[in-house]
Symmetry: C2
Subunit: 102 residues, 2 copies
DNA sequence: CAATCAAGTTTGCATTGCAAACTGGTTGGA
DNA sequence: TCCAACCAGTTTGCAATGCAAACTTGATTG
């Protein structure tokens, strides 16, 4: 291998997706229309604090949107994945698959 | 879903492997007997500093071993993956594959 | 109406990864 | 011979991250 052959980074992953907690969140959201905070918390095994902050990061990155509503008089937060989120997840999957060689 | 149904974490990944730089390093090492520092640097696209520190972490975790030698009078460092490293990588791959559903 | 619970959010901290600076030795040139 | 440039790698400094615990706001219960 000659120096000129220096390769571009082999594994260039979207860090926003790469974090396991967020990867899990996105994967769950990708499978459903809209998901409630508490349901998501149980499925992911995250505590409220971390779910809240990871969701905020995903929202800041445009990968999900937060829907604030009330169930009765109690506030209930739900999430939806955005188109950008869906394709980021898709791209992430494909890079991983490619890296591991089909 | 009732509270008692709280699931164990869905995606429990070995953080030592999960970091893209280290995942790349391990994957390269898994494919060869022994790999020299500079070669590894070019293939991974990491700078020396980061390759050095990631390799140290992998070594601390028992996933690779460092072989110090000389080529002529110039020091040359090489790495080998250990059995533990190989199986950690394998386990990581399988978890990912399982998570993404075959 | 005090205490408890529900639903999230914010805070504090220890850990990380990254790039830049540094070290110890070697080679080439004047 | 002396010193500047270079090679091979390590250490350092810092900003960003993830995690758990503490906090907030409001609703319900005894």
């Amino acid at each position: 291998m000659r120096p000129e052959d220096a390769l571009p980074p082999i594994l260039d992953l979207d860090r926003l997706v790469h974090e396991p907690a967020r990867l899990t969140i996105l994967t769950v959201l990708a499978a459903a229309e809209e998901v409630e905070f508490l349901y998501l918390q149980r499925v992911t095994g995250l505590n409220k604090g971390n779910l809240s902050s990871h969701a905020q990061k995903l929202e800041a990155g445009g990968y999900l949107e937060t829907v604030k509503a009330f169930r009765g008089r109690i506030p209930a937060t739900s999430f939806r994945i955005t188109a950008a989120g869906r394709s980021a997840l898709q791209a992430y999957r494909e890079r991983m698959r490619a890296f591991f060689g089909a």
